[in-house]
Every structure is written in C-alpha cells, then in structure tokens.
Symmetry: C2
DNA sequence: CCCGAGCCTGACAACGTTGTCCAGGCTCTA
DNA sequence: TAGAGCCTGGACAACGTTGTCAGGCTCGGG
C-alpha cells in the first residue's frame, strides 16, 4: 500500500516551505509570504502566529524560487585570476563591501589565468543569473558575453580591457606607471636597466613593457634583448632570468619588475648578491619599507580599483543608462631606497 | 554571418527560455532540456537543430529554476573574517579548488569579525540553498544553524570551533604552536616575554594566550600583567602596547605576537629601536626571511586548512555519514633569526 | 437597517526547469 | 506480414515563491 509521502521539517534533507508554515499557523500561504517579506496588511496577532510557526519549523525562504519569480538574484559575480594573490584580496574585499551596501552577495571564482576557465566561470555565473559581473579577464575575446549584455547583465572589466565587446573597464595607468618607474631609475643614473614581466598577451604586462620601452626611448637608450625577460613568472625561471641579466656580457645595474610576484623573487635574488643593484617594482608589497634597502615601487590601489568597478556596476544596475567608459586610475611612485641606488658596475 | 536573434532575445532584460529554443528549433520543450543536459535519446540531426537555436538565441539555462526542481545548487558558501587578510586568501583559494573539483561554485562573504554579520551572511547563504557551508566563526553561539544542519546542509567550521552545536571543525594547534614558540624564546634565555594578541573571546586568540601561559608556567616564570596586551589589533594601539612593554619598569626582552597583523606592526616598532628585542610571531608573513633579522614564526598552512575543511565538507555531501570530528593540524616553527636573539637588557 | 469603504486574507496562476509517462513510428524476427 | 520491442519526442505536473485579484469581514454613515 503506497502511503502519502510525509512532509515534515524533521525528515532529513527536507526543508519546510511556506506551505508548511501556513498549515502550522492555520493561515493561508500568501499570508506567510507577507510576513516573511514584511509586507503590510497583516494583523499583529496573525503575524505573531506565523512568526511562531516559522521559528518552530526553522523555516528559511528558498531564494531560488524567489529569484525565479522576481528575476533578480541580488548577487554579483567576480572572476579574478587568483584569490590567493595579495593584489586580489583587497580588491575582492572592496567589491564585496560595495555589494553588501547594495544588499547583494558576492560569488567569486579564480580563472587561474586560463581563458577557457574564465569563460566557463562567467557562464556558470550567468546561469545563476547574477545581476552583474566584475571580470578580470584572462582571455582576450569576450564576444561570448554578447547575449548576456543584451539581456541586461551589468558588466565591468577590471585591470584589463575586454576583447571585441564594448564594456566598462577600470584599470590602472600601467603604461604611465611603468614609464615613470623606469624614468626614475634613469634619473638616478642607470642606463642598463632590465625588465622582467609576464606574457605580453596579458594586457597589463604589455602596457608595462610599453612603458619601459617608452622611458628608455625618451632617454635615448637603446634596449638590448638580453635585458628583457617576458612571459616568465614562476620563481625558478624568474631567478634564472635575473641571474642572466646580472652576469651577462652587458650586465644591468637596475631591474624593473613588472608585477608583485616577480618583484618578490628578484628581491630574493638580489639579497644573494654583494653588488648593489637598483630595483623598482610594479605593485606594492607588504613590508617593502622594512627591507634593506626599502623597495621602491609603483603602487596601484587595489581596493580603490575594486570599489570603483563595483560602484560603476551598481550604477548600471540602478538603471542609469551610461555609455561604456574606460576609467584609468593613477599609480603612485613610492620611493624607499632600492630605486635610488646609484649604478654600480 | 550569424543569424539575427528573434524578438525575445533582443528585448532588453528578457532572456530566451527553453520554450523559445524549442519553438525556434521546432521541437518539444523536453527535447531541448535533453540536449542542454546531454541526456541520451536525441537524434544527431535533432540535436544539431536545437544547438543551432541555442546559439542563435544566446540561451543559457536558468539555474534558479533548475535548483528549484533538483534541490541541489552545486555551490558552497564560505564565511570568513576578511578576504583582504593574507591568511584568508590562500585559504579561500584552496576551498575554491576543492569546490571546483566537485563542480561547485563558491560564494563568499566577510563577517568583519562581527557575530551579527556572520549570522546574517550564513542565513543569506542558506536562503540560496548552498549545499554546504565553510564558516570561520565570528560569534560563539551557532544554535541558529540547527535547522540547517537538520535539513542536511553540510557544515564545517574552520579556525575556531562552533558554539553550542555539534559540527566538524578544522583548526591549527594554536595552543601547542604558541606554547612551542614561547618555549623557543625561553630556550634562548628570555624570561621577560611580552604577549600581544587579539580579544580572548576569539578562540584562536584565547588558545594562543593559553599556550603562552603554559610555556611560561612550564619554565616556572611568573607573568607580569604589564607583559600582556589583549584585545588590541589596530596598528596604533599595538604600537603603543609594544612601546609600553619595552620601556616599562620591567621591560621585556622578547615579544610573542599572536597573529600576522600584530606581528607586522611590532616589526615596525622594533625597527625603530636600537636595542635588539627577540620576536616570534604566530602566522607566517611574506618576505619574513628577507628582513634583518629574519622573522621567526609559528606557521600554519592556510591552504592546507582550507583544503582539509572543503574535503571534509564534500565527504559529508557524498552521503558518507560520519560523526562530527575535530581535526587539529600541526603548526611549524620556522627559525629565521628574530627568535634566536639573546636577551639584551 | 442597509450599504459602501476599507482592511485582511486566501485562491490561483506564473516563473523556467526537470521527472514521469505515454504515443507513435521504427526495426527486427518469427 | 504481424507482433514485439526499441527508440525518439512531447504533454504534463511539480518544485516554492510572489503578483493579482476577489471574497469576507468590520465599521461608520446615511
């Protein structure tokens, strides 16, 4: 004899619904909905009964159903490269703060610099119907986002511009910052300056390289190929690249490192050398002021970038129709010693 | 040339549904569902037609509806204290990796060490019907989670145990680590050792304080109140606390700092002093090896903690019924110089 | 005493998807 | 050639919530 399946809050894996609450409180379904959402038109006495039933059953509204009905999820997605990177922690946090101020949750994922994984993540977020997306692109073609944009998913790119689509971007002045950092070294007498950076297919890496080249050209210094190391980020290879620049036939007297991870590795390499080599790094690093010498850096404000992007995102969501814009935030040269060392041959 | 999408896809704010796809492909609704989910029983020819319609319309499955039907969201929630803290970045990342391996997305939020905000976040995540929760508790009463546990939401606490409920915990051996770190200082001849830590209502802070006390007691050293600073974390007050310990009537010759932020601040304070004061910190910090002297720390492996917790979570989700457990991971003393300085009066 | 206004309340449809079940057409074999 | 079995496709209900709308009640005024 098949018996009617019992719906109760105590059965493992089953959650009470508004219907259950309504039954227990002896009211209609809609009344429960009203209480849960704080809508007007419910007697205090009825409200009390409903609230009691809610507490007794441990009812929590099912937001999936709610979203299905209402259309908005009150959540935004953040796709970045690596949550563990000290640059992205503060960025992520500031995006979260803005989201929170707008009553939204943050879903985030790391692309690990893999374009395919970026797309996979973004599409998963779209399937969840996030209201908006903050994307730090790994790939360089974002046409797959066209249907989403058309459907009204607010989107802001960060750190690097989107490929083949027209969307908001918030980024640092990578070119100007790098150019300024290298010019700083030149102003302190250096002419043989090394550059170690990421793959030029990454926008920031390319821009910073361009800044390096521009500064050198401004000063009329021809750049030797052996001074440049591109697409090298893992510590062992950075180490080798730095050693080569320092010991080659035409050794550099200063190095410009194009991101925080490279900077840290190079600091380690230089610590093992007696010759004083000047260093300017892109991105600030913690404790940089306490090293001997202090590390001179071109700093970008991750929290500010994140905040700016998120605020832009919510402006889109508020319905204000504004054409896509490119917002470039300035960088700041922080001199601490390593960038002011004179050339030592 | 791609075909022009039909009306429903082009109307702003409206997304195509399976119904739209079915209409365009000239098939039934369920057939589209089958194609989207890779279910068997569809002719290659039909599948092609459906796929074409999907691409043309830019259709993306609505996961809210899917979740409503299926019950599982394939997402887990992570509530931590502050995403911007260098300890939580790697932790968060490793949780994400495990989640990804299980096909789940990660939703995370920062409690900012505020119990109310923790609860608010956790309940919001439950409303989204996350399959599981990883929580770094800010509060000390988690009975509000009882209905969720009963409903089968997998839950693992990290870094600190849950209050008043029986749940999995993954944490470091805070007591043993601190005790070992302080014993290390004692072994190097120190007797007047300062302690600067967070509020004792935070479990880790309390445990580390207990470790400090135990080590001192083991060595038969009575502890002066003026050597201890509790509940102080903002840099300015930590700075003042450290200065007082160093210049008081009974000045310390060594300091044990109970978390990474405090350690960094104290390093700055000590850098301004000529007297060499020994230092051991709880939590590793980047570049600690390059400072003069290198910073000796009691290190915990954030990534390992996160991974362990997440794996435990998915074991719960896989249906394996295991009683709640407390998993304590060992810490590691890394000697780099600052902890081996002799006492200097 | 009756009627309308105003307030509570609940029945019902809809959101977009998936599970169930059945129909129709095909192949294969006896 | 008929019957059995298989394969493909589609109709329909259900998931839990919210918006719409209408019904019933109370109360005050005519």
């Amino acid at each position: 004899m098949p018996q009617t399946p019992l719906r109760s809050a105590t059965r493992y894996g089953t959650r009470p619904t508004m219907k259950d609450v309504a039954a227990r409180a002896g009211v209609g379904l809609k009344t429960v909905s009203r209480v849960v959402n704080g809508e007007p038109g419910v007697t205090p006495e009825t409200e009390r009964r409903v609230q009691e039933a809610i507490d007794a059953l441990g009812f929590r509204r099912n937001d999936s159903a709610r979203v299905l009905r209402k259309g908005r999820t009150a959540s935004i997605g953040l796709v970045l490269e690596d949550l563990a990177d000290p640059f992205y922690g503060p960025l992520s946090r500031s995006v979260e703060e803005v989201a929170r101020a707008h009553g939204a949750l943050l879903i985030n994922g790391s692309s690990a610099e893999d374009p395919e994984r970026e797309q996979e993540l973004v599409l998963a977020l779209c399937a969840r119907r996030v209201d908006g997306l903050v994307v730090i692109p790994a790939g360089d073609d974002h046409r797959y986002l066209e249907p989403e944009l058309k459907a009204g998913v607010a989107t802001v790119f960060v750190d690097r511009p989107a490929g083949y689509i027209d969307a908001d971007v918030v980024l640092s002045d990578n070119f100007g910052g790098a150019r300024g950092g290298v010019a700083h070294l030149i102003a302190h007498g250096h002419r043989r300056i090394g550059f170690i950076g990421d793959m030029p297919r990454i926008h920031t890496a390319a821009e910073r390289l361009r800044g390096y080249r521009a500064a050198m050209e401004d000063a009329g210094i021809p750049v030797a190929d052996s001074w440049m190391s591109l697409g090298v980020t893992d510590p062992e290879r950075v180490r080798r690249a730095a050693e080569e620049m320092l010991s080659g036939p035409d050794p550099v007297t200063a190095i410009f490192t194009a991101n925080n991870r490279v900077t840290v590795t190079v600091i380690r390499v230089l610590a093992g050398h007696t010759r004083r080599v000047a260093l300017v790094g892109f991105d600030d690093i913690e404790l940089a002021d306490l090293l001997q010498p202090g590390v001179t850096v071109v700093a970008q404000d991750a929290a500010d970038i994140g905040r700016t992007a998120a605020e832009r995102l919510f402006r889109q969501l508020d319905g204000t129709q504004v054409p896509p814009e490119r917002i470039e935030l300035p960088t700041r040269l922080i001199t601490r010693g390593s960038g002011e060392l004179p050339p030592a041959d």
